[in-house]
Amino acid sequence: MTDVSTAASTGRVTVSPTEFVFVKYDANEIAEIVAELAARFDIPNPIHVIIDETTPLAKLSEELDGTGPAATITLHAESGALEDRQHPMSFSADNARESFGRILLRAHDRLRPDFADVPADIDLTLEENAAWDTYCVGRLARLGIRANQQRWRYNHRNRFGFDDGVDAAFDALWAADDLGWAEVLATARS
């Protein structure tokens, strides 16, 4: 595996694979987008991005090997998360920004002391995932990154229910900033 570095990064961003076979993606472009997002979120950590180009699914996850600014953040993305849905197998910078933005904000949250007890991504329940996604995408939208609120509202409703109380909780999470993990869950369940 060869790494691709980008000078545009606040830290060092590497992407694997460096060349894609199944999709028309560019590792340098991906590295630049992640670096740009990391700079906007004030994340100084080294970041390693791993793309699974063999599946059109769109699962994302993040992990850290520590808690400080030197900890490496690893982002996992299935190729569908970065895809232009009108032109399958082609890259969409907008979708990449939304996808990487979402999990970079999660990584940013994980560096906070009040997220110390958050489970690893694989151990999160579907409800916990949805609540955290709502909280992250709301912040992304306020940073000017394109996000379809109704899409995320539907995702949230699918996990918490289709009623006015759930919608009010969604609106509160979407508008929130500076929450700890316990507050994210409490807001979603309010």
Partner: protein
Amino acid sequence: MRQFFPVEDLARDERFVQTNMAERMKDGRTAIELKESSAKSRGATKRLTPERHDASDAARGLMHGIMVGEIQALEGAGRTAHDFAAGDGTNDTIPFELKLDMARQAWDEARHVEISAKLSDWMGTELGEFAENTVLFEAACSNDPILRLAGVNRALEGLAIDVFTQMKEFGDVAGDPYLEFCEDWMLADEVTHVKMGSDWLRKVTANDPDRRTKALEFQQVVDKLFSFGGARGESPESSFSLAKRFRELAGFTDDEVQTISEMDAEALAERRAAVLAYREKVGADAPA
């Protein structure tokens, strides 16, 4: 008014981007497990249920596919009502009552397009957000009206029965009142459309067994295509299953349902083999 409209000339505004089956099959990626034994061991299922981690996005994608499918079904039924002169069913004519049924179907499909567009909006999808596969309309381009009945009313609308049944269940389990209600009502229409195809196919070919055989062979080809490489089937790798009970209500015999089920399994195996061959060719594998 122009007759026999080619798929390339379908009218769409700038929001829509079209693709076809040949393009889709060039995609060497797959969500299916490539080793048959590993699917169970991983405990994974691709069935479209709320338990999937990507449930809402998968449902949005399928809903958009339904919406463009309804547009093409409207176009297909409308073309069949218009393209053939009224007659006794021979020499490229169709009975006038069949034209009326096609007109009624076009009206139903127009309503379904509106419902599906509103459901897409409700689910957070923009019209045209996903590529439109024109394979459904292509099944409605035959010069023989009986092949159109086999391709559109039996294969395409049969697929709609399967998909709507899955989406109705999804809405029911997720607690989405609009999705469950709308899919249930559209499903009732689709059963009627398939029944119309089954009845007319038998009636018009009553004295022409060769034509009936050709139509049923054509239907099998289209049915296999509409399995989308095993997306429909009984395997946990398939997104939706064959809605056997509703297909029986729509006039499919037990043997016909069994044949489609076997073709779905074949399509999945063929897709698996094709992906493995492609991966071997490019020397690629999933990351560890």
